[in-house]
Symmetry: D2
Subunit: 424 residues, 4 copies
């Protein structure tokens, strides 16, 4: 579907008075509003191609309707999101599902939606129909060199697709691990995985990054071969300067202090990027900010502090991506909610009075340090985020407009009620 | 496939000398060997029909071969397990996948394998192709009375199938819950679920039990409407004397003291039965005893103590069933391992010197109480369990014989390498 | 110390312009401001006498200064908090530390501070110097009837002290449990504890409540005899209509859905009250709202919904109390922060559009239900809470005024730098 | 007290027949018995001086009797343990509590008990009475350079004490961290801690090791500055080749795979040693093997495999120490139980058929790999451990003999019933 070119402008006009009243109150009270708005405009969060359809669990999947049936339709969906919020200006592809048949056409399509190609993602956690050897017992860790080679070749193949489209990073998430004590020689599995990653690393273009994602458990339920930030850091350090750790918020043991991990990795120069989502129990892949919004804010608080300390560009130095699964919501609505929550956390982190915070810390004034963070978090920054969207050409309230325009109904009309997005 | 009638006897003969040497040492040292062996012979663990094929996760499924393609083949598989270990003498069916076309034929088949029909299981966590209304937002909890009625009718239908086969219990596991704060009115969801269960309860035959299974999370990732033993107990108490709580070992929050829960439920007369498995992180559905064998022993320690205190028959008063998922092992091998682990835990629990334990407790002699439990757990009871199998007509080492007979290869020959068990 | 009677008025005058600007924006945008302010004025949170001094861990305690040395000084501290925030109008005493020598004098003192006496708390988790029998192996669960009787008598004694002061509830938190498998016969421990509680229940005045608090772990590290809401509910149900479950936010296993527990208990008419605090790992006893403010809001969301559904008075139907430990902050500052966080969560819960929420739920509109809750949570309700304080005679910003008045320095001057509050 | 020199020999004689019957069965069945016995004889586990008295929690402490009142009495207690089990031949001192007044006398005393001095432990998690600056807000991480210097000096002082006694390692466990979001600048705290450790490292004698212990939480409840193995590894790597990570089994988040961590650290050459204990919820400091004995075995399985792969001496390459807290048991009984459990796990790990295990792994034979580990774990190796003790001059059943000799009663007689061990 195509958004009516005037839809956003008309909608914003209808909301403008209320918005300006809230915003004017804001700009009156807070001196830093303007630079925050400018940073928000620059800040883009990539949408993964697999998050555009309804997700599921091992217990089943309850399909929605109007899901994208092709790479082109996935790009149309992200283009639509980006038109609405002007903050989703990149798509992250998943190979083998998103292999273009015509690279130039796809690049042209991306340009028409103002979309960049974010990190490309390989897949060795499933067997594909045409695949020669099985990943049942792992891929880069496999005891059989032929299976490892197949997985290495696949990753290099993914790099090549990404190069052709203008991506600059490969994300490697490995489900490799074991389900039972005894199954794996941890030492050897580590060594084989490192060697395999080394071959992939060697095939990286000069200006690319390799993101090594870690995960504590699932789908292996005893050990994961890249199981925590410490392991990922070890791999990335041994691989070289182009290798980094990628943090998925749902990939930790219960009660982990993720913001501290983020701070350490950033300080070591080894933080590569994020998969945003939220969770209560495991890798629940829920909407960002829907369960623990304060944690999301605290993570951004470390990011802003750490990136500024290293003179890093907020928008471009790290990879920002959503990784979520939408079991009970319209995927596009869910993604709009996630992006909004991420923007709010970022805006609140920008609002923190860092000088006062450091002074409180130097004085061991714990209550005051808490007050400073809470003051930022308790502030209603929604008008700022809406203003950033408005200035960038997006909708003041993307979700409201999405509903007003009956987007999902139109998509169902175009694509059918029983479609299943590829790659799920 | 059919086991060669002499295969077990021949195998046992070949192992007999070593077995008897171990056993004689045992019976020489421990006075209680004989009654333990007799109790082990009586103790049967039901196999669920869905555990006979390769399981998977939301990230994929790596098929094995020779999986059962029909109810008849599932029964053959359980029959084979039972022939080997003489401890798997019941099958637990899952409707709609295991609906018999000819009840008498199925009952005859069961008799030929010496199998009973354990609790029947309904399914409202997936939509079936022909299903009118969707369970996407729950079944017995659903806001729409028509969906609830459909789920109620399905459960009553399951009871009818079970009646025709000789089952005596219905297990209701509900995936009902919510994925996001706000989604559900907990109060109303509880009330609707209770009302729905009430209608199912009303349809129970006089001599049946209703097992209300609880689970902390998954597939819903914010709340589960029957989320813990307290909730299940509430439902079961309000429903009436035929309703009981069913404990699945993998359905708890981290660090839960399951054995204490078991003790409380047993003491309240509301423990109905078990789904055995093991896990490290969540509902990992691993082989029983593969991760926390001491916990399994402690659970049986409470069971033996509590059942004896209430004069309950160990073998028949509660429902004993495995619920596991085999992602990387041959399902039949995995089930043989699970049954063995359960038998070992039961045997060790029977070995506990209960009088000495109570004396230590009365004296607050904590170190001694610990010694008494550890003494039982550290004892190698494998000869006892093997002897129980031998006397009952099973194999001394079922897994070893299973491999020696190349059972899986034969099943692949009969059924094919690419089969997928129904109901997965 | 005494607050200068004009201190608050002067301070508020100095802050008034800014406050009114924020408030007027608020009342302009939100129609429900006025009734929320009125409910906030009525809502009082009791302060426990043990939270007025510096807390510690088993690894040590780093004392602050100016801690209260007597019941009178504890009341002065709570009186000061209440003067500042007009929301801490009750004190919860801990026996044996807070036994008055002159009841009338203490009641007069309370009246002078406008303080009520909230639930009284017994203590059987420590041995007192003069105590005859030890609670090393439990109190109400103890195998020795004489120890149980001592603990029962102590609880009845606590009731008598409470009666004399005008309390209306007894909170029983038991550390009873076991540290090792085998130590305890769970069944018998449950029975003994129930019998002991029954004797305490029998001694309750007609208009009193008994709060049975549960806790998952610590200081016993294998089992707790009142370990979860299900257990507490069982005890309270068996005891009778005056017995209720008390929820301490830090007393759960990791990832527990506390708001659902609250909803169930409320719906069963068995929720008695709260101990507010926050935590990341266990019973960390941190400042309310400092770690998971959204969870605190979700709990209040259930409370408001459930209390309204049963026609319960928000302010008086349940017991509201803080239970925290201040290891690195000034206790009074910490308590001011906790009360503020609780008020904010309550105000946000009052702000939820319940009719719209129910409509979204009835329509299975999950995204909308989330939006409705987030809309309330993202709203900056601090002006409302400040206004409620102002109207009630408290300070617009209690913590800021506390610091401006140098309260802690004055207390150190009066009481000394090395005091240790009794009961720690 | 002094053990009657003949007590052990007499006791063993009384038990010999039963022991030899069990052992002969064993040596008949298992070819590897003899080398396992020899390795067990060499394997010594250090006892920390703080574990000889009754422990407690923040909720209180229930004293036992006969606790050691001085360094000399602590050494006598460890000497007694070692006489009984011949496996506790080292003591680990805690400074400032265990500072000798006469080094030569203490060394002579140690020699008389055949005790070595294991790693020495510094203490900066409490303030000592005479201490100038407080560690309330950390020690090596502190914002104030003077506090850091005080903590550095203390650690160097501890090294000097250890040198004088013949220790070869310093264990640094830091409680440094934060209780609230905002309190700490993670980056700067890491840097300050690293710098401080660097100064301590610089003061290490040539042949010493520095053990950097990590802990996930407690006593700080938001962040710990050495919070996980990844952090500890980072510090140790930056410090240099004499710095290692120390693993305390209770210092992890829920569900952590400790054995995998052990394997990775060992493989990186950065595993320094262990603090053995067991736990269900947090740092519960329970008797080793009392909660998760299979996990303890799996850890030893990795240790044996990894040390053999690197040609390391099992007994001397790593630091083996218990760290436990005895709240409800006689400390000496608890320690005897812990040492026994560790020896059993080690013996079972030695029993694993490593060649068969590697073959199963190479064949992806998961069921067989599990069988191989379980076969070792299910074997009753108690006769082997008893035989190792007997040959080394210890008692066949140390705990039984300890009780038979009424050791605790004698200690109470000598030291009094109300003693409190120093350093608790």
């Amino acid at each position: 579907m195509q958004l009516d070119p005037n839809a956003i402008a008309d909608y914003n006009q209808s909301q403008l008075e209320g918005h300006q009243r809230k915003l004017s109150y804001w700009t009156q009270e807070v001196a830093t509003a303007e630079p925050i708005i400018r940073k928000l405009i620059d800040f883009q969060i990539a949408i993964p191609s697999w998050a555009l359809g309804t997700g599921g669990t091992r217990f089943g999947r309850f399909a929605g309707g109007g899901e994208p049936r092709s790479l082109e339709e996935k790009m149309a969906d992200v283009g639509l999101l980006h038109a609405l919020n002007q903050a989703s200006g990149a798509i992250s592809l998943h190979i083998p599902w998103d292999i273009p048949t015509d690279y130039d056409a796809i690049k042209g399509l991306a340009a028409s939606y103002s979309l960049a190609f974010d990190a490309v993602n390989s897949n060795t956690f499933q067997d594909q129909p045409e695949q020669e050897l099985s990943y049942k017992f792992g891929s880069l860790q496999h005891v059989d060199a032929a299976v490892r080679q197949q997985a290495i070749d696949h990753n290099i193949d993914v790099i090549r697709h990404g190069e052709a489209l203008g991506s600059k990073a490969l994300t490697v998430w490995l489900s490799d691990g074991s389900c039972f004590p005894g199954q794996l020689n941890f030492r050897k599995a580590f060594g084989r995985t490192l060697d395999s990653l080394g071959e992939i690393y060697a095939a990286l273009p000069e200006d690319w990054k390799l993101f090594v994602e870690y995960k504590a458990f699932e789908p292996n339920f005893y050990s994961m071969t890249v199981g925590d930030w410490g392991s990922s850091f070890l791999y990335a350090s041994k691989l070289g300067p182009k290798a980094y750790t990628l943090v998925d918020l749902g990939h930790h043991l219960p009660n982990a202090n993720i913001e501290q991990i983020v701070s350490i990795l950033l300080n070591e120069g080894k933080l590569g990027g994020f998969h945003f989502n939220d969770s209560k129990y495991g890798d629940d892949d829920l909407t960002a900010g829907s369960i623990k919004p304060y944690q999301l804010f605290l993570i951004f608080n470390e990011l802003v502090d750490g990136m500024d300390a290293r003179g890093m560009n907020h928008a471009t130095s790290l990879g920002w991506m959503i990784d979520a699964s939408h079991n009970v919501k319209d995927p596009l609505e869910d993604l709009l909610q996630s992006v909004e929550a991420i923007q709010l956390a970022y805006a609140q982190a920008l609002l923190v009075d860092r000088q006062a915070l450091e002074e409180a810390r130097e004085a061991n004034d714990v209550a005051q340090a808490q007050e400073i963070l809470q003051d930022a978090f308790r502030t209603d920054v929604r008008p700022l985020v809406a203003e950033a969207r408005r200035r960038a050409g997006g909708a003041l309230q993307p979700l409201a407009l999405y509903r007003q325009l009956n987007v999902r109904q139109q998509l169902i009309g175009e694509r059918g009620a029983k479609t299943i997005a590829t790659g799920l």
